[in-house]
């Protein structure tokens, strides 16, 4: 009996080590930590609740396995007759409540932060279409200044398997959304047709773009880079083919790029007028 128990304990320990090891090694198997404060805090919440679940799981499945190993008829086990225990039942009602409260507190903090969309440095409107995104840079009065569409750039031949698939297969666009680093960007999301959802995993930012509604979200990215995501609300035939790509560049570079865009749209407006 004792040796059986200790062998079970050893198995449980070994399993735990495997889990911990796997979690440490395989970051690509996990939610990205991302590049914003919010995405980091979300990832921490995710890991906390994950480990709470692992501990509860080890206890529950452990008890189950011990029972399955020791309390078998084939080992001559005779059934006990107990069938209730008010103390135990109260205990495993109260303890989960305590765990949930402990979990709810940090979750509430992060949620409050996500909803704090005020005090922004710039505003970008994100508009969903079947099946592309439109980005509009707005000024302080929310007047449109620069606007362009962002379409899937992966060639059809790659999708149909006629040519080699590129590194960013299905996650590349013709015109990326460009935003500066260290800037609180407020996004206004809406849609022109059906519901879409704009998601950048590395920003911890996903919000639905709904016709007739303007949703708000924000991000403040510290690290320059190209961040890729996808539409995450079924929006029809090419739902799988409307990626989100955001290029985050240092402020100065952004100013340059933005000035060029302004000039281009002014020239375009002039051409239209003539």
């Amino acid at each position: 009996m004792m040796s059986k128990l200790s062998s079970i304990a050893r198995t449980v320990l070994a399993t735990l080590c495997v889990f911990a090891g796997a979690a440490a090694v395989a970051a690509e198997y996990n939610m990205p930590v991302g590049v914003t404060d919010v995405s980091r805090e979300i990832q921490e919440l995710h890991m906390t609740i994950f480990w709470i679940c692992v501990v509860i799981g080890v206890l529950v499945f452990g008890a189950m396995l011990v029972s399955m190993v020791l309390h078998r008829k084939s080992l001559g086990a005779t059934p006990a007759t107990f069938h209730e225990s008010t103390k135990l039942e109260l205990l495993w009602t109260v303890i989960p409540i305590v765990i949930l409260v402990v979990m709810a507190l940090p979750a509430t903090d992060v949620l409050v932060k996500i909803y704090d969309t005020g005090g922004e440095d710039m505003v970008v409107e994100v508009r969903g279409y079947q099946w592309k995104w439109q980005y509009k840079y707005l000024d302080e009065e929310l007047n449109e200044q620069v606007s362009f569409f962002s379409n899937l750039a992966t060639p059809r031949g790659q999708i149909l398997g006629q040519s080699e698939k590129g590194e960013n297969y299905l996650l590349e666009v013709d015109n990326e959304l460009v935003i500066p680093t260290d800037t609180k960007v407020r996004f206004l999301l809406t849609s022109n047709d059906v519901i879409h959802s704009w998601w950048v995993p590395d920003f911890g930012l996903k919000r639905d773009a709904i016709p007739g509604f303007i949703n708000e979200a924000w991000a403040n990215v510290k690290e320059p880079g190209v961040y890729r995501g996808q539409c995450t609300e079924l929006c029809g035939k090419d739902h799988g083919f409307m990626p989100v790509v955001v290029r985050v560049v240092p402020k100065a570079e952004f100013q340059q790029w933005y000035a060029a865009q302004l000039e281009a749209s002014a020239t375009e407006a002039l051409a239209m007028a003539n």
């Binding site: 995710h46 609740i49 029972s67 399955m68 006990a80 209730e84 996500i114 998601w199 930012l205 609300e233």
Partner: protein, 527 residues
């Protein structure tokens, strides 16, 4: 008095009618139960083929077998068929067979309505499936059919879909009324509510959920119908309507619906665990209260499916807290099952294997459910494969495994024959391995960022998807083995005894195997 009962009894003491009319006109709860079960099994295979089409397409990145348009029809109809055509009718079939036998009633309270509620189903699902052959193609807007994708932008066949949902809903409501009427009025003398078998309890609560929410679903699809054909704009923003309203109404139905598909499973598992542990169910009273609490909570958590629609902060917080609370009664159930096993005298026949796998895998689904309840984290999980993994753990290795367990558990009572234990165990292990290989990697693909409902994906998701496809095919093909076991058991097999399982408890084990066409013409006495 007894003379009257005798005469009445004689009048009904005949076997089934011959030929097809037996099945068309039958009012017998056992016949109707069998028809429900076979119907749901056929739908399970149809929905399963659709799942395999999906998985085949997703085996590798790129478009190989189906166009995105057809892919969307497959995901949509797979969901609709499995939820409304396979899982729900299977539980109704089990209720038809077992509730009268468990409470000592001669039949369901409303036998003619019982016949009607079954025979509506083939028409409802025939109509739904016929849309796949229509020029516009079938429903392609997901089983959650969010407006305006399902209204302004829907294929023409959407009207058939709406009518099919109406029919299936009417069938469910009738079934639920029948089950409540039977349970409340036809229990054997001495069987008080708190002595009812757990399956009867869970079904009673489920039936109330059905009656409460199926009309809401009917309302939602009727509003769609009006938007599409009669120029209203309930869900059309350009006419002053509100697409988010659709989601609120849908999930007000949809969340209780989730529990409609799992509460009867809780009942089944309670019976199986207790029987094969040779110990009474631990915490019967708290099981009843936990089930009731889950049913109540299911009405106030719906918007946790909608954390990303832009609800106000207060709404997000309310739905997050309420959802987290569900973990408490659900935990109570799991702890009670483990305590039932504790210091029992366990054996591991096929029904027990499915029940143990249920506890194990449903709990994993519960863990991912708890993670999904954390609203900030849900911003990352929402509409990814993490969600797909979660609900397949609770619906396949949860609800479906409990149905498999129930079939093996009660099959000897239905057919009078024991199934082949070796093949049953093989079916279990293939299903168990298949389910986990199919659905476990989906947690990873979801966390890595793969959205659901896409026919093609970025290269970093390739390995996970290849595994999922392999698992899905193992699981799918092993269900043919299940069919073979069923046919074999119905035709022949070792004769089953009256009590079937050693020390089995409950009225259903007091009637001969197979259960005679008419049982409990005289109500049994319950001590």
């Amino acid at each position: 008095m007894s003379a009257v009962i005798e005469a009445h009894h004689d009048d009904h003491d005949h076997g089934p009618a011959k030929g097809i009319t037996r099945w068309l006109y039958t009012t017998n709860h056992k016949d109707i139960g069998s028809m429900y079960l076979w119907f749901s099994f056929i739908m399970f295979l149809v929905g399963g083929v659709m799942a395999l089409v999906i998985r085949a397409e997703l085996f590798q990145p790129g478009l190989q077998f189906v166009e995105p348009a057809l892919f969307n029809q497959m995901t949509t109809n797979h969901g609709l068929i499995m939820v409304f055509g396979a899982i729900m009718p299977a539980f109704v079939g089990l209720a038809n067979w077992m509730v009268p036998l468990m409470i000592g009633a001669p039949d369901m309270a409303l036998p003619r309505m019982n016949n009607l509620s079954f025979w509506i189903l083939p028409f409802a699902f025939g109509m739904l499936l016929s849309t796949l052959f229509m020029e516009s193609g079938g429903p392609n807007f997901g089983w959650t059919f969010y407006a305006p994708l399902s209204t302004t932008y829907a294929p023409d066949s959407v009207t058939y879909f709406i009518f099919a949902v109406h029919l299936a809903g009417a069938s469910s409501i009738m079934g639920a009324i029948n089950i409540i009427a039977t349970i409340l009025n036809m229990r054997a003398p001495g069987m008080t509510l708190m002595k009812m078998p757990m399956f009867v309890w869970t079904w009673l609560i489920t039936a109330y959920l059905l009656i409460a929410v199926m009309p809401v679903l009917a309302g939602a699809v009727t509003m769609m119908l009006f938007d599409i054909h009669f120029g209203t704009s309930f869900f059309d923003a350009s006419g002053g309507g509100d697409p988010v309203l659709f989601q609120h109404v849908f999930w007000f139905f949809g969340h209780p619906e989730v529990y409609i598909m799992i509460l009867p499973a809780f009942g089944i598992v309670s019976h199986i665990i207790s029987t094969f542990s040779r110990k009474p169910l631990f915490g019967y009273d708290s099981m009843v209260y936990a089930t009731s609490s889950i049913a109540f909570l299911s009405f106030i958590v719906w918007a946790h499916h909608m954390f990303t629609v832009g609800m106000p902060l207060a709404g997000e917080l309310f739905f997050m807290y309420a959802t987290m609370l569900i973990a408490v009664p659900t935990g109570v159930k799991v702890f009670n099952w483990v305590s039932t096993m504790w210091r029992g005298s366990m054996t591991f026949e096929t029904p027990m294997l499915f029940a143990l796998a249920f506890i194990f895998l449903f709990t994993i689904g519960g863990f991912s459910g708890l993670m999904l309840a954390i609203a900030p984290a849900d911003f990352q999980y929402h509409d990814t494969y993490f969600v797909v993994a979660h609900f397949h753990y609770v619906l396949v290795s949860g609800a479906l495994f409990s149905i498999f367990g129930a079939v093996y558990f009660w099959l000897p009572k239905w057919t009078g024959h024991m199934y082949n234990e070796g093949l049953g165990k093989l079916h279990f292990w293939l299903s168990f391995i298949g389910v986990n290989v199919a659905f476990f990697p989906m947690h990873f693909s979801g966390l890595a960022g793969m959205p659901r409902r896409i026919p093609d994906y970025a290269l970093q998701f390739a390995d996970f998807n290849a595994w999922s496809t392999v698992g899905a095919f193992v699981f799918g093909i092993s269900q043919l083995l299940f069919l073979w076991i069923l046919v074999q058991t119905i035709r022949a097999g070792q004769k089953a005894t009256t009590e079937v399982w050693e020390g089995s408890e409950g009225l259903e084990w007091t009637v001969p195997s197979p259960a005679p066409y008419h049982t409990f013409a005289e109500p049994p006495k319950v001590a």
